[in-house]
């Protein structure tokens, strides 16, 4: 099987998550070729061919141009599978490519077995096994599902490509998130408040546990959206991606975007009354209890 991988760059740098693409291709033991719109100064490390387009000329968000590049490489290389990361770049570009190729697209693939792709459904509670009926297939893969275990190495052979840079959308600028000084990525212990905490008045209960452990307070998206906790504490794909030594998720159901942001934590404890909550997929321990009763008890027992 031949796979075209579409790598990602942002603000002059190669995104690490690009290596997940390589991990995926290696897991399938397939021939791989990569295309990326990026910068010569920062090349991904792998053995194989890299089609590199110049981001300075084409822009970092230029769907029509990027689509054309993919189609051009598909024409040259004739891959069976075209793989994107399930990111704001990938889920925007993949459907455009799929439609042009009259190919089917599978979104947020987490596994591949016996010629079928496995994707999550209903907030990751369930799974679908999908099989393509088209000669080519486009997929986006979940970040973190195929991360290679070994360090990246190698040096690709590079072919420069280009396309018409005109676009019907105009990228103006990036806007950084307001810097609040809270860097959860450096925290060793994070205690996160999820919707199960109930209301803003109960947040101090979670904060107290975080303080007792000498850790930081995290928040799931609904908790941040409701302003129970400041947005800077949000953990997840649109917040911060963390990997502390200990992660305690209090009343967090485990929406995919949240899991993606914390599942690399070394030890994960979930406190939840719902045994079916998706957070249990990644948790090492599930404490089946009411957050509002268990957390204070735990806090007071920690000396």
């Amino acid at each position: 099987m031949k796979i075209l991988l579409v790598g990602e760059y942002r603000e002059n740098k190669l995104l690490d998550v690009t290596y997940d693409l390589i991990g995926f291709a290696d897991k399938l033991e397939a021939d791989k070729v990569m295309l990326a719109v990026g910068y010569e100064e920062d090349i991904p490390k792998f053995d194989g061919k890299l089609y590199l387009a110049d981001a300075k000329a084409l822009g970092e968000y230029n769907p029509s141009a990027h689509k054309q590049l993919v189609l051009d490489v598909v024409e040259k290389e004739n891959p069976d599978l075209i793989v994107f990361i399930h990111s704001s770049f990938g889920w925007d570009l993949a459907p455009r490519v799929a439609t042009s190729l009259k190919a089917t697209q599978f979104t947020e693939v987490i596994d591949y077995k016996d010629n079928s792709f496995i994707v999550p459904s209903c907030n990751s509670k369930l799974r679908r096994d999908l099989k393509s009926k088209t000669s080519k297939t486009v997929i986006t893969i979940q970040a973190g599902a195929f991360t290679p275990l070994s360090e990246p190495q190698g040096m690709p052979s590079i072919e420069n490509i280009s396309a018409d840079a005109s676009s019907n959308v105009n990228f103006v600028a990036y806007e950084e998130a307001e810097a609040k000084g809270l860097d959860l990525t450096k925290a060793e212990i994070i205690v996160t408040a999820g919707r199960g905490v109930g209301k803003k008045d109960n947040i101090p209960i979670i904060q107290a546990l975080a303080d007792k452990l000498g850790g930081e307070l995290g928040a799931s998206r609904p908790v941040a959206d409701n302003a129970w906790v400041d947005q800077s504490h949000q953990v997840g794909t649109t917040g911060q991606t963390v990997s502390p030594k200990l992660y305690i998720a209090c009343g967090v159901s485990g929406a995919i975007q949240h899991l993606a942001g914390m599942k690399k934590s070394e030890f994960i404890v979930a406190v939840n009354t719902d045994k079916d909550a998706p957070i249990n997929e990644v948790a090492d321990i599930l404490v089946v209890a009411d957050v509002l009763q268990f957390v204070p008890a735990l806090t007071s027992k920690l000396s």
Partner: protein
């Protein structure tokens, strides 16, 4: 002066029983009364700015209620010290009024037409003595009230220009009355029949002091005082509609116009009428005439504000202020937006506990006005008490419960229990259940309250009662939704629930939640629910009296919290106590218990909201009251109260000394092992 044998008083003595005196007197009297009527008529036109409302049906019953409450001063005496002073003052004034009235009857009818004089002899002795005592007592009571208001100045009691005018007028009327009597007696009885004077003791004391005054002086003084007194009284009449004194008429009328419906039941809006463009109230014309009239019945006694749990904990809500602002807008600026005037923070703070309505001596209805404004905010503006309340309503709309948990899992708490789920049972019509247990959202989904649901089923099973529940066919009864103003969603829920309740032809519905109880038993009647509904404390108390609950009495100390929706909305305070008594409880009552109970803070839909305002939490306030009894256990009978007290005990940091339990837990602990 006549020297007769029988004690009597010459009417119109000295001022002239002639056409001039009488003519002038009646002329000015009619003038002042005409002014009184006219001024009240002008106010009547303002009441008419409000929507129509029928409060004159069943008139004899209404008048009877009015007479009982007015003459008995029953509501006035709820606040005992000033209440008793006012009551005695009121009765003494009634006596004085009857006294004047009898003079009128004699002078203009019996004597004039039939030459019949009855104000003489023994009757006159009683008459004169009564009037003197009444007048004297009146002055004493006036002084007590005066000292309270102007010297002690109770906190929050507003003293206005009206109060000053009223006090001055009443004092002048009473005092000049005695002066006229004394001067007359000094010129007559003192000389001719001193033995009569004892029947006008106050007059006697003052007359004795005037014994040296020349007769001509006395006569002139008497004339002046008499006309002065007349004009002051006539001025008093005119002042009535212009000041708080109007309450003599408006409160009397308010008693007649009281709400005869089930206590606290809200008006069910007609959602089908396509011509209605506006829902709820934002300006005066959206309220009813009664809502405006209540402002005229209000005498600013402050009792509602003093007893309001929201006000007591620093929220910007004053029930009295709501009444005043509606009145002020009606009389001065009818287009004023009352929502902005009163303020959303105040409007959303109300817990609908009805303490204000219960204590109001004027019979004002505060709660329905607040809910009407909430209806305007939700239905017309899409505004809520908070984003969390909007989310809770959204959850109820989608999943039938404010927590937003899966509707299909509503009956999951029954796992392992012997209870029929109506929709799953094949023989529910041939082998009927004894009661349908309407569980409610908290007992269905909240861990602490699920225990209560299981307890109730356990107690019923032990007593040989077969229980059925609707399970996933039950949705939120809609009570907090309705109290928070969303009448539309409430009616949608109600109609669906009623259909499901009727489906199984059950004979009785029992619920462990006073809010569900109140809603099904009252509000749902407007939408067609016909089944009998009971709160579980009444249901179990009856079973216990029939000796059907296998319970062992075990003594324990406790205090009992009367939930607002049981005691003030439904007059239920004895059955839970009788039940507790059978369980062996030694109840140490809180200072505010039974009808005077103090709210836990979760009513009025506030269970859905977060409490941000004020300087103290309402539930902590009540927990403190429970602590004061020294009892180790606080008993409640409502899932909202239970939830609020569990929180309150933690916040008040008294988990070591006080525990809260639901009444059902006490009974389950005492069930004999089978």
């Amino acid at each position: 002066m006549e020297n007769t044998n029988e004690i009597t008083r010459e009417v119109y003595w000295n001022v002239g029983n002639n056409a001039t005196t009488i003519g002038l007197m009646y002329f000015f009297t009619f003038l002042s009364m005409g002014l009184l009527v006219y001024l009240f008529y002008k106010r009547y036109k303002v009441y008419q700015l409000g929507r129509p409302l029928n409060r004159t049906d069943n008139l004899p019953q209404r008048v009877k209620y009015m007479l009982t409450n007015m003459m008995g001063q029953i509501r006035v005496k709820r606040n005992s010290r000033p209440g008793i002073a006012h009551s005695i003052f009121f009765w003494s004034f009634i006596v004085l009024f009857i006294g004047t009235f009898l003079v009128f009857i004699q002078a203009d009818i019996t004597d004039l037409l039939f030459d019949y004089v009855f104000l003489k002899g023994d009757f006159y002795k009683i008459y004169s003595l009564s009037l003197d005592i009444a007048g004297f007592v009146g002055i004493i009571m006036m002084t007590a009230l005066f000292v309270r208001r102007f010297v002690f100045r109770p906190k929050n009691l507003i003293t206005s220009r009206d109060d000053t005018i009223i006090h001055i007028l009443l004092y002048v009327i009473l005092i000049t009355g005695f002066l006229i009597e004394a001067v007359r007696m000094a010129a007559t009885e003192l000389i001719t029949n001193p033995e009569w004077m004892i029947f006008s003791p106050i007059g006697m004391v003052i007359a004795n002091m005037l014994s040296e005054v020349a007769s001509s002086t006395l006569l002139l003084t008497h004339k002046i005082l008499w006309w002065f007194h007349l004009f002051i009284v006539l001025a008093f009449f005119v002042v009535i509609p212009l000041t708080k004194l109007r309450h003599m008429f408006t409160i009397t009328a308010n008693y007649v116009f009281k709400d005869n419906g089930p206590t606290g039941k809200l008006v069910t809006l007609d959602m089908e009428d396509e011509n209605i463009e506006s829902f709820g109230a934002s300006t005066v014309k959206d309220f009813t005439w009664k809502d405006i009239f209540d402002a005229d019945a209000c005498i600013s006694c402050n009792r509602c504000e003093d007893i309001c749990p929201a006000n007591a904990t620093g929220k910007p809500l004053s029930p009295m202020s709501v009444i005043h602002k509606i009145g002020d807008a009606a009389f001065n600026d009818p287009d004023r937006n009352l929502v902005e005037d009163i303020g959303q923070d105040a409007i959303w703070s109300c817990t609908t506990c009805r303490a204000c309505e219960d204590i109001c001596p004027s019979g004002n209805e505060h709660v329905s006005k607040i809910v009407d404004i909430r209806r305007n905010l939700v239905l017309m503006e899409g505004e809520f008490a908070g984003e969390e309340v909007m989310k809770a309503m959204d959850n109820v709309e989608v999943n039938g419960n404010p927590m937003g948990l899966a509707l299909a899992s509503r009956g999951d708490w029954t796992e392992g229990l012997d209870v029929v789920i109506m929709g799953d049972s094949s023989d529910v019509l041939t082998n009927p259940v004894d009661v349908l247990y309407y569980v409610g959202c908290y007992a269905s989904f909240d861990a602490r309250n699920q225990k209560i649901a299981r307890n109730f089923v356990e107690i019923c099973n032990a007593s040989g009662i077969k229980v059925g529940i609707l399970g996933k066919e039950e949705k939120c009864c809609g009570e907090p939704i309705r109290k928070m103003g969303n009448e539309y969603l409430y009616q949608e829920l109600a109609k669906e629930n009623i259909e499901n309740l009727h489906k199984y032809n059950v004979l009785k519905i029992v619920t462990t939640c006073p809010h569900c109880f109140n809603t099904l038993n009252k509000d749902y009647r407007d939408l067609g629910l016909e089944t009998e509904v009971e709160h579980y404390t009444v249901f179990l108390d009856r079973l216990e009296k029939e000796k059907r609950i296998p319970m062992e009495e075990k003594e324990f100390d406790c205090t009992y919290h009367d939930s607002c929706y049981l005691v003030r909305h439904n007059d239920i305070d004895s059955e839970p106590r009788s039940l507790l008594d059978s369980a062996g409880a030694n109840i140490i009552e809180m200072a505010k218990s039974k009808k005077d109970t103090s709210c836990c803070g979760a009513g009025g839909g506030r269970i859905l909201a977060e409490e941000h305002l004020g300087n103290k939490k309402i539930n902590v306030d009540r927990v403190n009251m429970a602590q004061e009894t020294g009892a180790p256990t606080l008993i409640s009978n409502c899932p909202f109260c239970l939830t609020m007290f569990e929180d309150g005990i933690k916040m008040a940091d008294c988990e070591d000394s006080l525990v809260v339990k639901d009444l059902s837990e006490i009974i389950v602990e005492r069930l004999k092992k089978q």
